[in-house]
Each structure stands twice: as C-alpha cells, then as structure tokens.
Symmetry: C2
C-alpha cells in the first residue's frame, strides 16, 4: 500500500500523535478558567502558539488557531476586505488558488465587490508584473498561494510581496502546501495554513495577521483567540499541530532533497514509459514532493481505480473523476490537458522502492485503461479534406480519443470538426493540439453543443 496523496492530507506524524495523547490528559479544560486545569490548558495553548509563531516567522500575538485551513482563509480574507472597505472593494487572486480563496472571491463579487484573477503560464506560475498590473488604487487585498496544490508549482512570493508592499496593499499568502518545508519569506501581511497538510491532526488551521494590518473580524463576537475565532479552542489538536510542525521542519531540509529526487524520477521517466503523456507544472520552481502528469485517451476515474487496485492512492484533477464534474480550475488556467490527470504527492519518508514500483506498474495500468475505452462515435465525411465527428453525449476523454483516431484520415492541411457537449472538451481539445503539434482553429456554437475545428499539420 502506497499512499501518494499527501497534498490532500497527510497521515498523522508520530510526534503529533504523542503530543495529542499527552494533551488529551492535560489540555481538555477551558483555558480561560482560573483553576489549575484551566491554567494548565492556558500554558499549553500559549506554548503551542509560541512554537507555531516561531515556525511561521511572526509574533505569537499575530497568530490564531482556526478550525481548518479553509476557515483560516475565509476569516483572513473577510477580515481584511471589511476593514479596508473605505480603501476600496477590489480583490486580487491568482487563477490557480485553492477553492477556499476562489469561493471567498466569488462571495465578494456576489456582494458587490470586484475581483481580478491573475493568470498563470503553462507551468502554473504567476509573475510579479501581472500582480503589478492588477493592482489599483481601490485594491483592498491581494492573495497568492506559496505553492500550488495540484501541480506543485512554487510562486514568486518574494517578488509579488514587494510589488504589493510598494502599492500599500496587504498580501495574504496561502502556505497550506509549503509551511512544513519552511517559513515563507518576503513581505506578506497575512498567512494561512492547515495542520493536516504537514502531518498534524485535522481540525487545526493557522491564521497570522501582521501587526498594523487593518483587520475587522466578521460574524458574531466571541472572546476566544483574540476575538478572531469563535468557539472553544481545540486544544489537544492545537498542541499536536504545533509540535508536529517543529518536527517536520527539523526533517525538512534532508527530506526535501530526497523527495525531490524521487519526484524527478517520475518527471523524467514517465514520458518514456507511457506513450502520450504530458508532465505538467514548473520543472524548477516546484515543491519537493508533488509531480503531476496527464495521460491522453484515459478516463481519470477509471485510472485512479486501477491504480488503487495496484495499491497506489493518488488523486486527479481530471474532469473524469466523480468528485469534480468540471476539469480542475488549475489545469484549465494553465491550458494543459486535464484528461487522465494524475497527481502524485509523496509523504515524507516515502521509500524509493515504492516510487520504483509505481513506475513499474503505471505503463500497464494506463495501457489497460486505454484498451477498455472502445468508441463507437459516428464519423461522417464532409468533402475530401474534412471529417465530422459527432461526439455529442460522450464524456471526456472520448471526444479527444476519437479526434486522435481520425486525424490521420484527413490529408495534411485537412480539417476535423468535433461536435461535443462535454465542457471538458473546451480545455482538452486545444491542449491535445498543442501536445500533438496540430493546429487548433477554434470553436463555433453548434445546434447542440459546440463545434471544435482542428487542422492537421503533421
């Protein structure tokens, strides 16, 4: 059994488990009480806050514990937008942020605010210039992840922080994927993170708000956590979160080198082992443990199930996974193929043999899934140099499979027109063309669905 989905959630670190057990006995009482159980709980809470603040690189009184990373993001964004409402109601986010950031942005728009979504390059990376262009006099807040959760691309936080500072606009950095690897440098104003991503327990997020950043807590008043987080403190989990953050940091430098080498093996060897594969994400600026690739002509959900049967737990940003019916917004923003998408994110301590075994079984698994995907899509000829593929009602990856099957049937310079009503086709057909060096001519609305036009070049 190899669990390769640590970007979703890490198994509990042994230090987290130890700390959790110890503080179940010592830290269950109300830390605001004056009796000894309360005082003990308060001491544990204070010590956890000191430790977490040191790891984050902020003052203890700038840091509060939330109930999740998502809640930290929601609280952080809402707090700044409310406090800086007089400055303006413009919010800047990157197009590849976590859903907690993007959903906050949607809520802000629904409430009358404006949002700029900064685009990324094909590797999933923003530029400081794009943030500079997005900044306006009425900008209240900018948000940027330290590293992307789906492809591992590391963002230029330092440069974007400088640009925001120059403009006097606070920057919220979502460090959910990177905080275990090290503190976030640069000029950030708010930072959010999630303990279960670094091996802490679920139920704990971090929100740091630098002194001097205007912040107005939203929601009903509550005296806990400097008034920023309502409800009884989840103390044993907080203690475990802080202890495990220190523990993973102590191992981080060494483990980063090791995991980077393992993910580099996958990056380098998968394209040779499996035909029609595209490795996505930045090859240089990337997290040590994440590697993502997309396999043409494969149904993502079937691929995940097949890998699961082989003992590998991975996730997918493919449009074909049941949990998300639309293709990953990250892959879409990067303009890369979403079909047959596989994200491998290695926990610390992953043995090299597990990665080798993954590389051994992957080619057979992909080939097996490809075999099962027979198509029976009607293809009609429209003149000598044009074919029409009617893929209405067919879901990803069938439209692309059919396109690949027939492109050789038209002469070079000829056209294939694919009729599809699957939203994924809009992303996958252009991505396939780029990958296969064919020309994507464009799309036209059709009577049903959309008509995609492809010219054979090779």
């Amino acid at each position: 059994m190899s669990y390769f989905d640590v970007a979703s959630g890490a198994p509990l670190h042994p230090v987290a488990r130890q700390a959790l057990l110890a503080s179940l006995d010592e830290g269950w009482a109300d830390p605001s009480r004056l009796y000894r159980e309360g005082r003990r709980a308060r001491m544990l809470l204070d010590a956890a806050r000191e430790a977490a603040a040191e790891a984050v690189g902020c003052r203890a009184d700038e840091l509060v514990f939330t109930s999740s990373g998502t809640r930290a993001v929601h609280t952080g964004i809402a707090g700044v937008l409310a406090a800086r409402r007089r400055v303006g109601r413009h919010l800047i986010v990157s197009a590849v942020e976590h859903s907690s950031v993007l959903h906050s942005a949607e809520l802000h728009e629904a409430d009358g605010g404006t949002v700029t979504r900064v685009g990324v390059d094909r590797a999933g990376r923003v530029t400081a210039g794009a943030y500079r262009d997005a900044l306006r006099p009425d900008s209240a807040l900018a948000c940027l992840q330290t590293a992307n959760h789906e492809v591992g691309t590391v963002q230029p936080i330092g440069e974007v922080g400088g640009v925001c500072r120059e403009a006097g606009v606070p920057l919220l950095v979502d460090a959910a994927q990177s905080l275990g690897w090290g503190p976030v440098g640069g000029d950030w104003s708010l930072l959010t993170a999630s303990a279960h991503k670094w091996g802490g327990p679920s139920g704990v997020g971090l929100l740091a708000v630098r002194k001097g950043v205007r912040f107005a807590v939203q929601g009903p008043a509550d005296e806990r956590e400097s008034g920023r987080v309502a409800g009884f403190e989840n103390l044993p989990a907080i203690v475990a979160a802080a202890a495990s953050l220190r523990a993973v940091r102590a191992e981080a430098a060494q483990e980063a080198v090791r995991l980077r080498e393992l993910t580099e093996r996958i990056r380098a060897r998968v394209p040779g082992l499996v035909p029609d594969v595209e490795v996505v994400g930045d090859p240089e600026h990337r997290l040590p443990g994440i590697v993502t690739f997309s396999c043409l002509y494969v149904d993502g959900e079937t691929l995940l199930h097949a890998l699961d049967r082989e003992g590998f737990s991975v996730s997918s940003g493919s449009s074909c996974t049941s949990s998300t019916l639309t293709p990953s917004h990250v892959l879409r923003a990067m303009g890369v193929l979403s079909e047959g998408n596989v994200r491998v994110s290695l926990p610390t301590g992953t043995p090299a043999e597990d990665v080798e075994r993954f590389l051994e079984v992957l080619p057979g698994v992909v080939a097996g899934v490809r075999e099962t995907l027979g198509t029976s899509t009607p293809v009609t000829t429209a003149g000598d140099t044009e074919l029409l593929v009617d893929a209405l009602g067919k879901l990803c990856p069938l439209p692309v499979i059919e396109l690949a099957k027939v492109i050789g049937d038209v002469p070079v310079g000829g056209l294939v027109r694919v009729l599809s009503d699957d939203e994924a086709a809009r992303l996958d057909i252009p991505a396939w063309c780029q990958m296969r060096n064919q020309e994507y001519v464009g799309e036209e609305p059709a009577e049903k669905g959309t008509s995609y036009l492809i010219r054979r070049l090779t």
Copy 2:
C-alpha cells in the same frame, strides 16, 4: 483534586479516547477521495453521522458536524435568518441563552434586524406564554436553550416548541448542556450541541436542521458537510464524539439519579453551613449535575482561588471574576445576587465523598475570604435618619459589604444612600435588599457614579 466544572468542559470519556485513537489510524484521509484510505474515512464519517443522528433523534442527512457548539449556533441562526428574510427579520431569544446565541442576536441587530429577548423568572425559566407574546408575523426564528449553563434550570422546550409550531416559526434549541442526558423532545426545527460538554473531544459541534426548514448557508461556498460547514472534516474527533455520546447515554439514566442526589445535598445543606448564601436556579426543573449559589460579602475571584487551593475547580458568574468584568447576564436576567457566585457542575462518576469534602471545606473557605475583606469606606451622616456611603472606586463586593455594615446604624424607616461606580452594584444592591428584606428605593444619577437608595425595614 475535584474538577467540578463540567459545564465548561468535560474531561475526555474513555470511550472517546479509544475511538479517537482508533480513528487516528483509520480516519485521517480525505473522505471525498476514491482510494481506499478515502473510502475508509468516508465509512467512518457516515457511521459517526448515523450514530449521532440516532442519539439526537433526527435523520442522518439532517445532521452536520461543525468545529464547535458555538460554530453550530452561529451557522444555524445565520442560515435560518437568511433563508427566511422574506418572512421578516425578527428574532426571539431568551435572556439567559449562551453567549453564542446572544452574540448572534447582537450581530443581527447591528445588521438591521430586530430581536426580542424573552425574560425569565427568578429561577431562570421562561414561559411558553412569554414566547407566544413575543411571536410576530415577521418572526424568522426563535431560540431557546434546553437547559441553562450557569444555573442548570431546564426550559419548557416542549411547550415553547408547540407555541412556535402553531405560529409556523422554526425553533432552534441549544442542547449543549443536556444532549448527553437524553434526546430533546418537542417540536424543534434546529438543534445544536457541543461534544466536549458530554465528554467528547473539543473541536466538534452538532447542527441538526429538520427537513423542510428553510436554510441558506452563509459564507463562502464549500462542498463539505452538505455545503453547511466549510473545511476538511475533523474526522477522528467526529468519530470520538459520536462514540462517546452513545456511551454517556447508556449511563445517563442511572448517573442522573446519583448526581441529582449529590447536587440536592449541596442545595439543601449550603444555606445551613454558610451564612448569607442564596441558592439560585429552579429547584425542580434542573439538570442533574449543576448547582449554583451566591455568597454575600465575598469577592468571587478570591473565592475561586481559595477553593482551587483546597482542590476544587469550580466557576463563577460573579462580576468579581477576572474573565468577565460584568456580572453574568444570566444572574442579571434572574435578578439574583451575582457576588460570590459559585457554580458546581459535577462530571459523571463524581464520588459522593468529593461532594462531602466540598461541603466540609466550603464554610471555612467563605469565612476566610470574608475576613480578608476589610473596608475603609467613608461614611457620612446626612440628618438623623440617613447615611451616605461613598463607595466610589470600590469594586464588588465592597459596596454591598459596606451597606450591610451600616444598615443597622439607621433607625427602621431610615435611609442609606450608597454612591458607587461599579456596574455590579446595580444588580447586587437590589438583590441584597430582596434577600435581606430591606426596601430598595431606587437609583439616581450622581455627579460621579450612581446613588442607590435603600430603606431599612427590619
């Protein structure tokens, strides 16, 4: 060591601890994932929801897990108020609700809504008639706790539920203090609770919303917990919460009888053991494990510290405790004395000997604290039958102590005027008069502070 503050938070039940440990290994993964760790987590989550729903008395798909009882209340109230906005913006709460309800009500008022706070009798109890009177055509929601957290008084949920149903207004019941003792009967529409009150872990609240109740989730969208609770599920804690709820319910009937007898001992004997004590809360309609009393002429914080030194952890709604600078809103609504207030809330399993030892040490502790409170308040004569006590700058309980000291110095029918700038005096001086059978004439604004007028009757 006797921890007598289970109404703040209970130590972890052994079953909760077991379940937590087991699901740390099995339930850390993302329950929305398709691989085996995810499927296992999903099964644990589903089973916990089934178990909790059975204990609550609702359908599993009506119940979600929040990160705390406070968060359950905030989410529940905000969701109904938003969904029923067309009906109206009137909210009904009792004056003795938990701060999470009252703070939600304040936020609603700040946002332009209207709130009726239903008063209570001297025992802290509402009447169904008072709720009927409060209901209006524009009432969106009514809230009522099942039992009070400071004095243990059980509310007439069944009758209030009937009145609300008649009016077609949903009733949210806050069952934080009672859910471990049994399901909540009557016609409730929403129910909230908090696991760490029944011996579950902190970090878990329950929110049940009956099918058919209009509900609109507020805040950024999120797909977890039927879209009602944002953020990664705190699964091991959820599993532990559900398991311990079943466990405490299995012991509830027997333990209720035993604890009720123990708190009855305190109710019956404290007034004989300690002079100038008032036991507060309903003697009949009350939780098994809570008993509250107030000691005249005692500084609450000093009393808590003295009891702590004797090995008893209790809490206080007194204005003299450092965590709350204003007197408890519950005691204020009841019109009872807040000074020297002590709440004893017994955990299940409390041995009778601990309660006996508490009764042994209490008289000496109170006497000791009373001795330390020397006063040096200037008293001046104003005519033959009036004394003026200048207690400006003196904090609770000094103004009342001084009043008690001098009342015998005026003839029956004579007046004492107490000048005080401590907010607690407004509550405590009338409460003292009622307790001591003296006439509280009223208050007048003074140049500094307030002047309270008392006529000697006996």
